[in-house]
Subunit: 354 residues, 2 copies
């Protein structure tokens, strides 16, 4: 059994999408148990349409719903302790749920997750890990926008956490990890990246296989299982790639609509198009995973539909089933035992980062 | 007449591609005059195959050719004053040529360009501007990898130089300029970006129309004429987008090859595919423009063919014809007269940056 808490008010559309998504995910993974948080008036009528889901879900009313355009600080002030977003995260803290899923605004969700769950011992800052479709299958890219400006230590933490996630998701024993850079030579790039590269090579960890530097086009090639980068660059690279995929799809559509022969050709080749669309579909790989907190939170795209939301739930489900959190904890502990004397570890923990 | 100097030894293939590219570009723009630098034994036989080009080109022998894998410092040591790359740049400095074109390695080309041409007065660091195909047509993105770590002042310089290039390239009067960021709200992002945004808004320049922040997917949408970012992020975003385009093309090809109906469909829709391919073809938009130096240098993709090299030459040709250099000089002067007292300007110039 995997227990999942749902922030039903998150996303551009809200309960309509989240509850339908929960129902779809349940059809596929009948062992899921839900706690659904939301405004009763909005959620109940929708929930009534999914009797199977209703039987496996506990609904809890919350007065406050966080808006998509709310600033993190404002959301925290207004929705801490009371909003459906907060409650879904808190359920993870209270061990009522194994993982929380929300399609709400990323900044608010990260701020609340940090405040409620706190950063793990030894982790300087959390990261958002995205799943990127590649030529070889899928790769993990982090950080895609949790924090701006990672030092070499944070890049190390990302490498270890990303490696743990790859083991949970892809079932590889020692995933390859690359640091995103502007060239593959050791002399190139940001100081932080070069320093992290040196440290990773020296550490020679048995949980990950450090590959070296990778470039922007290596992501889509699937050169490594895990691509590690600072959040500003990671976020922009992700959106630039998504934008390019959308751009090509639009060109193709417009171009095909211009002539009758092209339209007929399209119909004949439709299965091929559908396969590509499915492969590149953001819905299929929906779900950013918050790593480095004392609990797992999944961020779904705000503009997704029921299918996409179900995919985000599935990511959370897989993470729990494959022991992501325990893997991260063990890997980090192992690493820090290797490099930091125990007394320093405690000091660092005591300082805390909110 | 536009005089163009060619480093015929640059690129993965070298003279074969560069000389053919020069011949193609000359067919399209008969007013071009060339000075071609390269190793005589390698270049002469190829040049002999293009009599029209030969009549419009002066060939000058150089002993040294810079290798694609040479480190900038090494290239500078070995090839300064003697290599075809250096000589092509030097021709611009000596006013023998209006612009230099090379498909040689980017790091070496930038190092030599900086050393030979020097940075313009008031410009902290040079940038490489790329031309990005967008939904609306084309946009300029800079810096795509000249330098790592731009402060707010450098981002301002990029904005002004990118604006000048947009006026030269797109013939718009007051191009829109956006700063690449992880969100469009003013509170988001790197300090340098936020500061640059404030300065641009306050300056309210008549040469550019400052739009505000843009995100990664705004590049492909063509939200603004000029997208300004720091070189590390810009390089990774560019390569991630190029990688995505290549990835989709490969998926489509593989997917179509799987079935006979899809293959027939493809043939019927071929004109549509070709249009999209042409639109997204890196060859068509080949040519990174080095901005901020006392002369214009165009970097062609190293792996391009004759058509692609011709496109890079065409970019250089357009830049000269439309007075890019003079526009940048005038815009920067105007801007710095606005914000920096004249005495400071002289001091700054005297310091120099190599």
């Amino acid at each position: 059994m995997v227990k999942i808490s749902i922030d039903a008010m998150g996303g551009d559309i809200g309960p309509e999408v989240c509850i339908e998504g929960a129902a779809i995910a349940l059809d596929r993974e009948p062992s899921i148990q839900y706690i659904i948080f939301g405004q009763e008036a909005a959620c109940r009528p929708i929930l009534d349409r999914f009797p199977k889901l209703k039987a496996k879900a506990e609904f809890r009313h919350c007065d406050v719903a966080i808006r998509m355009d709310e600033k993190p600080s404002q959301a925290l002030r207004r929705g801490r302790y009371t909003s459906s977003m907060w409650k879904a995260i808190e359920a993870v803290k209270l061990k009522e749920a194994d993982v929380a899923v929300s399609a709400g605004n990323t900044g608010a969700l990260m701020a609340m997750s940090k405040f409620c769950l706190r950063t793990m011992a030894n982790v300087e800052r959390p990261a958002i890990a995205g799943i990127w479709p590649t030529k070889r299958g899928e790769s993990i890219v982090l950080d895609v926008g949790a924090t701006i400006g990672a030092d070499s230590q944070a890049l190390l933490d990302y490498s270890i956490m990303g490696g743990a996630m790859a083991r949970a998701l892809f079932e590889v024993k020692r995933p390859t990890v690359g640091l995103l850079n502007v060239g593959v030579e050791e002399i190139k790039g940001q100081e932080e990246v070069k320093e992290a590269g040196r440290l990773l090579r020296e550490a020679n960890l048995d949980t990950i296989n450090y590959f070296g530097f990778v470039e922007g086009d290596d992501i889509g090639k699937g050169t490594v299982d895990v691509v590690v980068t600072e959040g500003f660059t990671g976020n922009i690279a992700l959106k630039a790639a998504e934008g390019t995929a959308r751009q090509i799809a639009e060109y193709l559509r417009e171009s095909i609509m211009r002539s009758w022969t092209a339209k007929i050709g399209y119909l004949l080749a439709k299965s091929a198009f559908d396969r590509v669309r499915e492969k590149m579909d953001p819905k299929k790989v929906n779900g950013g995973v918050f790593l480095g907190l004392n609990g797992i939170v999944i961020k779904s795209h705000g503009g997704t539909d029921g299918e996409g939301y179900a995919a985000a739930i599935k990511v959370g489900y897989d993470m729990v089933r494959n022991g992501l959190f325990e893997k991260i904890e063990a890997d980090l502990k192992k690493f820090h035992a290797l490099v930091v004397p125990p007394s320093d570890v405690e000091e660092e923990t005591a300082t805390g980062i909110v």
